[in-house]
């Protein structure tokens, strides 16, 4: 248990970093209503671009912007494959992810690269407080910007696109452009989170994003189940998603401390996600079955009563 509590600051730091990725996934999965699998690749693209440019001596902030831009390009490619070539978004994402796998290798010229420079985000326990503060500030900034953006005319049109394409087109909204833009913004954020993750881990790796979509979805589901009863406010839902990511990594931390062999961790994280995704559905099913049974029981009671009266 003590090990778990000692591990919590790491879970918080990781949760905040992955929370930014989850916000990116939120834009496609929740706002645009598209399942985008580009993210598994674009998170590593962000990490790779950051490490390579940073090692080349560029300014850290600039490197992070470059990582964001690289993710934007990846998202745009997925968007164009979907809208121009007419391929389902899930397949379009898989195709881009595959391309990125090779591209990420090319960017680093190998499968992984260590970061040669100290930045403001690190796993070093003495500086973990700084890391958490920075990550928190960045999260808050991103949530604020997105909250403002989705309140603009353009942002509203993107929300409408995800809600009802028919209505959007009838109201003069260019749905294809909006989808490409949403995918671009989403993957830009994902790659940005990849750049932070590379700093946290001290290296970029072409495998650093494998299974990322699952973590993103889990964070969203945990987050929305936390806040949806209280409010539908967009900013609070985004914050909930980041909190969801922190909870996810805390659970992960707890499980790791149970002394599981590391080979089983992927299986475990899939199960954690499965539970969080399935519980709301099963609950709904259980309650509707229960309700219909109750209705049936009441009906039969009423019938019996009727017979007795007769």
């Amino acid at each position: 248990m003590e090990a778990f509590f000692n591990g919590l600051p790491y879970a918080v730091a990781q949760g905040l970093i992955w929370g930014i990725m989850a916000i990116g996934v939120f834009i496609t999965y929740k706002v645009l209503d598209v399942a985008d699998l580009t993210v598994d690749g674009s998170i590593a693209t962000g990490g790779a671009v950051f490490v390579v440019t940073c090692n080349a001596g560029m300014n850290v902030a600039l490197c992070m912007l470059l990582a964001f831009a690289a993710g934007c390009i990846a998202g745009t490619v997925t968007g164009l494959i979907h809208t121009v070539c007419g391929i389902q978004p899930i397949l379009a994402g898989i195709l881009t992810q595959l391309m990125l796998w090779s591209l990420n290798y090319k960017i680093m010229d190998r499968a992984n690269t260590a970061l040669m420079k100290d930045t403001f985000i690190t796993m070093n326990i003495d500086l973990l407080g700084y890391t958490i503060t920075w990550a928190l500030l960045i999260c808050i900034g991103i949530v604020l910007l997105l909250y403002l953006f989705f309140g603009t005319e353009f942002g509203c049109a993107i929300r409408a696109t995800g809600d009802n394409e028919h209505m959007s087109r009838a109201q003069g909204i260019n749905v294809n452009f909006n989808k490409v833009f949403g995918l671009m913004l989403s993957n830009g954020l994902v790659a940005f989170s990849g750049a932070m993750l590379a700093q946290y881990q001290g290296a970029a790796d072409i495998k650093m994003g494998s299974g990322a979509i699952v973590i993103g979805l889990a964070s969203i589901v945990i987050g929305t189940s936390l806040v949806s009863k209280l409010t539908r406010n967009f900013a609070i839902t985004l914050i909930g998603t980041v909190v969801g990511a922190v909870i996810y990594f805390s659970i992960y931390q707890f499980v790791v401390n149970l002394d599981f062999s590391t080979e089983l961790l992927k299986m475990l994280s899939a199960i954690v996600v499965l539970i969080f995704l399935a519980v709301p559905n099963l609950k709904k099913k259980y309650f509707s079955v229960k309700r219909s049974k109750k209705v049936a029981a009441e009906a039969s009671v009423a019938e019996k009563g009727g017979e007795e009266n007769a």
Partner: protein
């Protein structure tokens, strides 16, 4: 003025499923015309409205609205000139957005959507007044999600959205068909009111002959992708269901009368 010249569309051309939905159709609408459109199932009524709206490109023919040739103009750009309400009440509104947000989206139809606020506080008074005219109690529910409304309420809101920014042409595709009779009558009354107050040029498809006769100043009947009956003015005023059925029988050569009668009545 809307001019449609020699419009044709064959779906799945060159396959066994080829279906000619529009067959050299020509039609001219004068400004302020309120035209009701009837015809049996598969006559091409929806296809005509979709061709005008730009859902697909026709095989041949021209669509000219106030001198602007619409061929090749994508659907979302044509929306600038068109107001549309669909048969399915779910199709015309964004369910997860609020009533005011939906109206604000419609108010900006045809305008560039930039980084100004998606809705201004000053718009609320305007929307409240508009919703008040519907007399459905929606004026106090501006911030409700549209998904919480009934089908009839949603169609009424869609009508407002289609006409909030005055369209050059209003396209209504059986927009009351999915509603119960009482709600349908109410939505039709609202339609009539909006159309006449704004003098909108309108094409309204209906499967109800009585409605087709009661509303509008002109009635057209379609069959196999063509306009086969076109009545307006006084002749339209004097139409009865019986007379209309007779016209339809004549137009279809008599053979389809029985099967289509049920659909039209």
């Amino acid at each position: 003025m809307l001019e449609i010249k020699n419009l044709s569309k064959t779906f799945n051309a060159g396959t066994v499923n080829a279906k000619t939905a529009l067959d050299g159709l020509s039609l001219t609408l004068n400004d302020g015309d309120f035209v009701t459109v009837i015809g049996g199932n598969g006559a091409g009524k929806s296809t005509l409205l979709n061709a005008i709206a730009g859902v697909f490109q026709p095989d041949t023919g021209d669509i000219i609205l106030d001198g602007v040739r619409l061929n090749g103009v994508p659907e979302h750009k044509r929306a600038k000139y068109l107001g549309r309400v669909f048969q399915d009440p779910m199709m015309g509104t964004a369910a997860n957005m609020q009533i005011d947000e939906n109206l604000a989206l419609a108010k900006r139809r045809g305008a560039l959507r930039g980084l100004r606020w998606g809705i201004n506080p000053s718009e609320h008074a305007e929307y409240r007044k508009l919703l008040l005219t519907l007399d459905l109690g929606l004026e106090d529910r501006l911030t409700s999600k549209v998904g919480l409304l009934s089908g009839g309420q949603r169609q009424a809101v869609t009508l407002l959205m289609a006409t909030l920014k005055q369209p050059k042409l209003l396209l209504l595709d059986e927009h009351t068909a999915a509603l119960d009779p009482k709600t349908a009558a109410k939505v039709l009354d609202i339609t009539e009111k909006i159309v006449s107050e704004n003098k909108l040029t309108t094409l309204m498809i209906t499967h109800n002959m009585r409605d087709a006769i009661r509303y509008g100043n002109r009635l057209i009947m379609m069959r196999e992708g063509k306009v086969v009956v076109d009545v307006s003015g006084e002749a339209k005023q004097k139409l009865t269901v019986e007379a209309l059925l007779e016209l339809f029988t004549k137009a279809s050569g008599g053979d389809e009368f029985l099967s289509d009668r049920a659909i039209l009545s």
